[in-house]
Amino acid sequence: MDILNIIDEIGKIDGEIYERLNPRRKAMRNFFDIGKKLSMAALPVALTGMFQKAYGQTTVNTTVVSALNLALALEYLEFNLYNNALTATPTLIPAAAVPIITIIRAHEQAHINLLIATITQLGGVPQAPMPYTAFNYTTISTNVTTNYSTFLRTAMSIEDFGVRAYKGQLANMVSNQSVLAAAAQIHSVEARHSAQLRKMIYDLQIANLINLRPWLSDRATDTGVVDPTNYNDSAIGALSTVYYQDNATLLNAENKVTQAGILLTGINGFTNITANAAAQSFDEYLLTATVKTVANALYINKPYQLT
């Protein structure tokens, strides 16, 4: 990556780039300091931050930082569930599944590290670390630390929630393209986690979840009867808000069949696109206010609740 070439290219458009960069030695120094600590892959984020500073956004972009901090809180929520299971209750997870949960935990840790580095680099203050005790993992059952299927189902709901939350935050990051790109790459990793956990639950063939899919679906009974009015395929009523509509838009429950005004059910004569297939084919977002409401109601204990 030839950084000087980039700066030179921009110089052809903006002849003042060197002046913009040079008098602001802090921006350059920050960049080089961070460059020492970050991997090459994280450089684009650092570079864009330098340009943003150079181009006069001296105030912290609170929209981007707030979006990243909300994501960070949810990463702590995910990480601590896996970390506690792997370290505090080593008999909870069957040996064959330990490598899977270990991989997922490593991703969440990497996300935490990247989010903290990015928020700091943008001049923001990262959400304070949230320990295991900050969270309530007992929404499905208090046996989450002793019952493997409860653990998996709790993890699934948190990952599903995380995917929806990331989706809702992407539009808040459009002012910083490299941050947005990285957030998108985290978002699809979370979707992979959700799919894997759903697959593991499917493999257990638990009563009420025999027809669970790796993709969010309309609720289906164990005999295969699909209810297109039921957006909650977790079979846990207390989790309904995870899969329900966004509070602000009132449209985006996970059984939604119309996208951008286009009805997907039976689209263009494809009668095999049922309401369930239509709902499965698009995931839905949750916006900030709803994410905080649901997180506080289901997963986060009082002193740590999101404001």
Binding site: V174, L180, A184, E190, S281
Partner: protein
């Protein structure tokens, strides 16, 4: 500031233009940095608000219509592939594999038809595909091909998502990419155990394991990997 009117249908008809304001300049520098060594910098970012009529095979990245046409190519390819699979499943497929492949096939049809109706005359036409290199009777061959297409799909969506000029485009892309990621995760696990999100293996597609980042590739890296399957010549411009 919260994003309001997040899903404005009117956005469909207003792929209009921004001016080169600071926000766009910053986006531009971001794009430049992300693709260094891959592309030269396209300086002409002029945008048009005129209705677009596609000649049937042009993907013009000058605005979001190009992004939508690009993913329309991918969705046409995926839908055609799964249609061939579901016409005669490999005999070694389990009942679960058949059932889940049927689900995926329907998702890809829904994506393709959605994009067709979304783009109308701004869209490319129906493409022809050549899957003769895939043995559709062989379960491993089918699973491996599916894995390739799904991972490339995730990489492709992630690789253009940040270039969206309208938050509406961003939303649609994000709504589909997570479904593709679910496909990819499940299919990968059918080929290799516990491989659902092997970010080291996916580094060739732009994933970064150390940062927990999924695949992301620019279109110039994605399309050549698919060219042997796409018979219809495509014109890709203003990338």
């Amino acid at each position: 500031m919260e994003i309001s009117n997040y899903e404005a249908v009117e956005s469909r008809t207003s792929f209009s233009a921004g001016k080169l304001q600071r926000r766009h300049f910053l986006k531009f520098t971001g794009a430049f940095v992300l693709t260094t060594g891959v592309l030269s910098c396209k300086k002409d970012k002029s945008l048009s608000s005129k209705p677009q009529i596609n000649d049937g095979s042009t993907i013009d990245f000058k605005d979001d219509i190009g992004i939508f046409n690009y993913i329309y190519v991918l969705e046409q390819l995926e839908a055609a592939f799964y249609a061939k699979v579901s016409a005669a499943y490999p005999s070694a497929f389990t009942a679960t594999q058949t059932s889940f492949f049927n689900d995926i096939s329907l998702h890809e049809i829904a994506h393709r038809e959605f994009l067709k109706n979304f783009l109308v005359e701004a869209g490319i036409g129906n493409l022809d595909f050549d899957f003769s290199s895939i043995d559709f009777t062989n379960a491993t061959a089918v699973l491996t091909a599916a894995k390739t297409f799904e991972d490339l799909g995730v990489a492709a969506y992630n690789g253009v998502l940040a270039r969206a000029q309208q938050s509406f485009t961003l939303t649609i892309l994000s709504q589909i990419v997570s479904v593709e990621a679910r496909h990819a995760a499940w299919v990968r696990g059918q080929v290799i155990t516990n491989d659902f999100a092997d970010l080291n293996a996916l580094s060739a597609l732009g994933a970064v394991d150390a940062n927990g980042l999924d695949a992301a590739l620019t279109p110039d890296k994605v399309l050549p990997q698919l060219s042997k399957y796409i018979k219809t010549p495509l014109k890709v411009i203003n990338f």
